[in-house]
């Protein structure tokens, strides 16, 4: 891909210069010139140009010929991440999407499960509509570890040749798949929020946010197989359970060397005393500087508890030591997309917004009507959170009969 200025269309208006975050554009003789040493192909200038004078020269998916080797790769795989022997919900979401992709392509959908004593779990994966489950069962694979999982998955891919491999964009998925992609020279797109098939070329169209969601990019992988994506949790709809669905379990075993790890997992510590797991939560109640002190977080926790939700915090609240880092939502914390996000006393700086603006419903409570959080809030409440939060907790309790 490359970028160029169409001189006939360029008016020398300099809008692109203002838009370029990398100072890569100059206007010489009333025409824009792009310094390719500085340009990162981010596309900001294309957006800014009112005359369509800057274009990215793209590779159209349908123009690409497939080398024969690529055609050997068939089927859609979903890596089914498990913790404590239980396949995680993100895997079921990917199986939902994977089914659509496999049907469009007219190929099989397969789950991949690594762990110890996972036969029952493999059956559960089958009930989500897969044709096959590749099961690698070994005590050495009981818990996720980078090296054994990477080596095993690489071997499976080399042996059974899928065309697409999907995996959750979780702390496991992102560490694992990044290593796997290097080992087999495959293309990998991180943290996708949209997946589709280009029917003509049969290529996977992977759409993902960049710049904290302010720009979306669609990415393809024309000449390498498999096409691999990590996919954001909570974006795709889970595959439905069908206890009558039948599929095959294919048990595969490799030598002990494959399962060997240089790193040692010494302990797993679960911080379950608080509702911390923001990425799993359907409802998140978040607090910011407007809470004034750490004790007032109780108001947030009370509401979260009634709603069965998790507690989030703005960077300001975390940096003040009111909440631990695992609660932080935003650019340097977690990216979340729950069904309902309730922001209390959070002004909504861009760093916070990029971490939560894809939530389905956003509720903002703030006494200042001019804060940016109201620009993204589905429902904005201008008022005192110390009065409103207890009322909300009370009302929800009544409605939910808790």
């Amino acid at each position: 891909m490359s970028i160029k200025v169409i001189n006939e269309k360029c008016t020398g208006c300099k809008l692109c210069i203002k838009a370029c975050p990398f100072a890569a554009i100059e206007v010489k003789n009333k025409k824009a010139e792009i310094d390719l040493d500085k340009c990162t192909l981010c596309g900001a200038c294309i957006e800014a140009c009112k005359f369509d004078a800057i274009v990215l020269t793209k590779i159209s998916p349908s123009e690409i010929d497939f080398p024969r080797k690529i055609e050997e790769h068939k089927g859609v795989w979903v890596f089914c991440e498990q913790k404590n022997g239980i396949a995680q919900s993100v895997a079921y979401e990917l199986l939902g999407k994977g089914r659509e992709l496999a049907d469009t392509l007219g190929v099989e959908l397969c789950g991949v499960l690594l762990g110890e004593n996972m036969k029952n779990e493999a059956q559960k994966v089958i009930h989500r509509g897969v044709n096959k489950v590749y099961l690698v069962d070994s005590p050495m694979l009981k818990h996720y570890q980078d090296e054994p999982y990477t080596k095993t998955l690489i071997k499976l891919i080399k042996e059974y040749k899928p065309e697409i491999v999907l995996c959750g964009a979780t702390s496991i998925g992102r560490s694992l798949i990044s290593r796997v992609a290097i080992g087999i020279h495959a293309g990998l797109t991180a943290d996708c929020t949209g997946l589709d098939i280009d029917k003509e070329s049969r290529l996977l169209l992977q759409t993902r946010p960049a710049f904290g969601g302010n720009i979306m990019a669609t990415i393809i992988c024309p000449n390498h197989r498999p096409q691999m994506s990590t996919v954001r949790h909570k974006v795709m709809k889970e595959a439905a359970v069908n206890n009558h669905h039948r599929g095959k379990i294919i048990e595969v075993n490799y030598d002990a060397q494959t399962y060997k790890s240089r790193t040692k997992l010494l302990d797993i510590v679960e911080e379950i005393e608080e509702t911390v797991n923001l990425t799993e939560a359907d409802i998140i109640v978040s607090g910011g500087r407007g809470l004034q002190n750490p004790e007032n977080f109780k108001l947030i926790e009370d509401l979260a508890k009634v709603l069965g939700g998790a507690v989030g915090a703005s960077r300001a609240a975390v940096d003040s030591g009111w909440k631990t880092y695992s609660h932080q939502v935003g650019q340097t914390g977690k990216t979340v997309c729950p069904k309902i996000y309730i922001a209390c006393g959070i002004s909504g700086q861009i760093q916070h917004l990029v971490g939560m603006q894809s939530s389905e419903v956003i509720v903002a409570i703030n006494k200042d009507p001019h804060v940016p959080i109201f620009n993204v809030a589905t429902y904005g409440i201008i008022g005192d959170l110390f009065e409103i939060l207890p009322e909300l907790t009370k009302k929800f309790k009544e409605v939910l009969k808790k």
Partner: protein
């Protein structure tokens, strides 16, 4: 102990706002900064150096102006800086980027620990760190929030150094031990980055930054830049902007009832 810290220069978002009319990112006058997560990587490298001695080398792959980011790292206390830069690297995706950086590490040869930020705030992939360790075939620990212990041993001329670190997960954390050399990626919780000293700033001005091009790295031309990148961007667009919705006003009781009514169906 020789530590390499990988950094990336990214556009600063601290002052970035959404233009209320066009609903796009306002980029005018946006400066470039060191990726925030990489600041924690630099700090951790410096703390380890303070404790164990040795040196911290910062490395970045990017356009010539990434030189500024390296100088900032030197002002904080890094000893050496390398800019991996060549037009042949333009258009690299994470595969080609991690390959190129791994070739640079290979050239450095003598390192015990590589530290990266967990991800960059512009691309948000979190793939380059693990990619480098995969290319180098060394172990990795991602999302490190604390280094519990680091032991540098050598017996009979063979190094037996190990690192023990806490790796952040969705539910809590894991404690992982790895032999060195190893690559770690770090999260914000690990430390609080220092500010540059005046002496450091002076040193940064004068410091010599090594510049390595493709010909210096023994790279396969088929594996770098656009050629070496399996993924291609076919479309870039601005998502439909999120609009503000309904504003509720009134007494606390009143607005609470209204909101509960509006959300009732979603909650139950």
């Amino acid at each position: 102990m020789n530590i390499i810290v990988c950094i990336k220069q990214v556009p600063d978002t601290v002052d970035v706002r959404i233009d209320p009319e066009t609903n796009t990112l306002v980029r005018v006058g946006v400066a470039c900064i060191i990726n925030p997560f990489d600041m924690y990587a630099i700090e951790e490298g410096l703390r380890l150096k303070d404790k164990f001695g040795g040196k911290v080398t910062v490395i970045t792959m990017g356009p010539p102006q990434a030189d500024e980011a390296l100088r900032e790292a030197i002002s904080l206390g890094a000893d050496e800086a390398i800019l991996v830069s060549d037009r042949a690297f333009a258009g690299s995706d994470t595969w080609a980027t991690s390959y190129t950086l791994a070739r640079a590490m290979h050239k450095i040869a003598d390192y015990d620990l590589i530290i990266c930020g967990k991800q960059a705030i512009d691309g948000d992939t979190a793939q380059v760190g693990p990619g480098i360790s995969a290319h180098l075939e060394i172990p990795q620990i991602t999302y490190v929030k604390k280094i519990e212990e680091l032991n540098l041993h050598s017996a009979k001329g063979i190094a037996h150094s190990v690192i023990r670190a806490e790796r952040m997960t969705e539910e809590g954390f894991e404690i992982i031990e790895s032999p060195l050399p190893c690559l770690i990626t770090v999260v914000k919780e690990i430390n609080e980055p220092r500010l540059p000293s005046l002496k450091g700033k002076m040193r940064a001005k004068k410091a010599e930054i090594k510049k390595w091009e493709a010909k210096d790295l023994d790279v396969d031309p088929a594996l770098i830049g656009l050629n070496g990148s399996p993924t291609k961007v076919v479309k870039i667009f601005t998502p439909p902007p999120r609009k503000g919705g309904q504003i509720l006003r009134g007494e606390a009781k009143e607005v609470a009832s209204k909101l509960v009514e509006l959300l009732k169906n979603e909650v139950i």
